[in-house]
Subunit: 240 residues, 2 copies
DNA sequence: CGACGCTTTGACACAACTCAACAACCGTGG
DNA sequence: CCACGGTTGTTGAGTTGTGTCAAAGCGTCG
């Protein structure tokens, strides 16, 4: 069988060994792909469709809008991440979801997802495990915005991003692509775009990291970890 | 059979009708209760136990500590809420969990939880639904801290609290008990305790709400909703 | 009575926001 | 070819929201 393993499969297999049938089911889930242009909004908050998405390539973000026009970005899904699982259970999307670059996604119907959970409980557990990790990231994000200074939380953000990208093999050690502009970063970090700029300058001047031409370079990971209070993640366990 | 229905059962039955066997299983899950004194830390971040808790009575909070001693409160579980489901899947607690008042909790082992999910898939779905709602609340909290001013986010917090308490029948319309002091509120709202005090004064002076003697009174819900950008929740759907 | 936990207030400092302007870099079309 | 607007990044000056420090008031409880 010639199944190129998906990013999702890669991720889930750090949690548990996938049987052939499970791998096949996973590939099947992602068999229908959809190209979406940068800037397109795939899911609108409040929408009641029953679709979840699996991001295949490109960058996206999930966010909420406020009455005054402000925007808070919740997370940046990376290839292999699922989006909208929660919406499936709640029957209505609690946040919007946009493509930041051109992206490819697979869409999965709620009913299909449910059937998979029933037929392949182990796969269901693995997907829940991944969802739990995403949730833990949101919590860490909350802590960042609530209790870290602008420079700390910016540093923390890029360290976490670096780790996530390394996990799916999309980032070498010191450097990685990052198509996020300062407006987007501002909406994610709960800052103004102008202040993001100043913070990035500080990080550059202190020779900790740079963001230039959509490329992040980590200059001094150790010092960054201390500044951000960042705890590199323990390696993934295997299920008991 | 003389089963007093638990808060959890009440909550889940807004999502779906519970069969007798399911109700029994649910009661069984909560058959072992544990009293815990105010201030006690039940779960410590990083801990690797495989226990989840169901809060029966009292107030608690889940939070994370920072290297500099700061604390960010993630959520205030109310009676009927589950805590630590995520930790079960991740095999390690990603946050701490403390009792704020004297509380009663039921503890559930991971293996037991898994068995329930297998034997009563519908019950599993209901619990996941509840977990999804909790997750949505964390997201809303993130938005609050990231993009709302101190007074907006404080107003939003109490409106949400009011709605949650009404849902489990613990709050009349205008007034409810709230044992949270200004230090705790500060750690939840990402503010300093002193500023919380100033904000509460403003809310009082503008005749929107008061917090006095551990009792919250909503004076003008309509204006508060506008100020906070709060959207009262739509009624719960039943599963298809 | 004093000790303690919590609230309240004032004065001041500082982090982050706003406004305004400009520079660099595109791709487009005249 | 250059002019052009659009997007993104950069910087300065002034404002404001929130944090910090210090002190006092007020219950409750031992």
């Amino acid at each position: 069988m010639l199944l190129k393993t998906s990013h999702l499969a890669t991720k889930l297999s750090t949690f548990m060994q996938l049987s052939e049938r499970e791998a096949h089911c996973l590939a099947d889930l992602q068999s229908f792909s959809l190209s979406v242009n940068a800037g397109k909004e795939l899911v609108h908050e409040g929408q009641t469709g029953h679709l979840a998405y699996i991001l295949q390539t490109g960058w996206a973000c999930s966010f909420k809008l406020l009455p005054d026009g402000g925007r808070q970005i919740i997370a940046f899904p990376l290839p292999g991440d699922c989006v909208g699982l929660r919406s499936v259970l709640l029957h209505t999307a609690d946040h919007s979801f946009s493509a930041l670059t051109d992206v490819v996604v697979s869409s999965v119907e709620a009913s299909r997802m449910m059937r998979v959970f029933n037929e392949f409980p182990r796969l269901g557990a693995a997907i829940l495990w991944a969802a739990s990790r995403d949730e833990a990231m949101v919590v860490e994000h909350l802590v960042s915005i609530g209790r870290r200074s602008a420079i700390e939380r910016t540093a923390h953000f890029f360290l976490e991003l670096s780790e996530r990208l390394q996990l799916v093999g999309l980032a070498p050690d010191r450097e990685f692509d990052c198509p996020l502009n300062q407006y987007v970063l501002a909406d994610a970090l709960g800052l103004s775009a102008i202040h993001v700029n100043r913070v990035l300058r500080q990080l550059r001047e202190r020779k900790l990291m740079t963001l230039k031409d959509r490329k992040v370079t980590i200059l001094d990971r150790a010092k960054l970890n201390v500044l951000a209070g960042f705890q590199p993640q323990r390696a993934g366990h295997n299920q008991s």
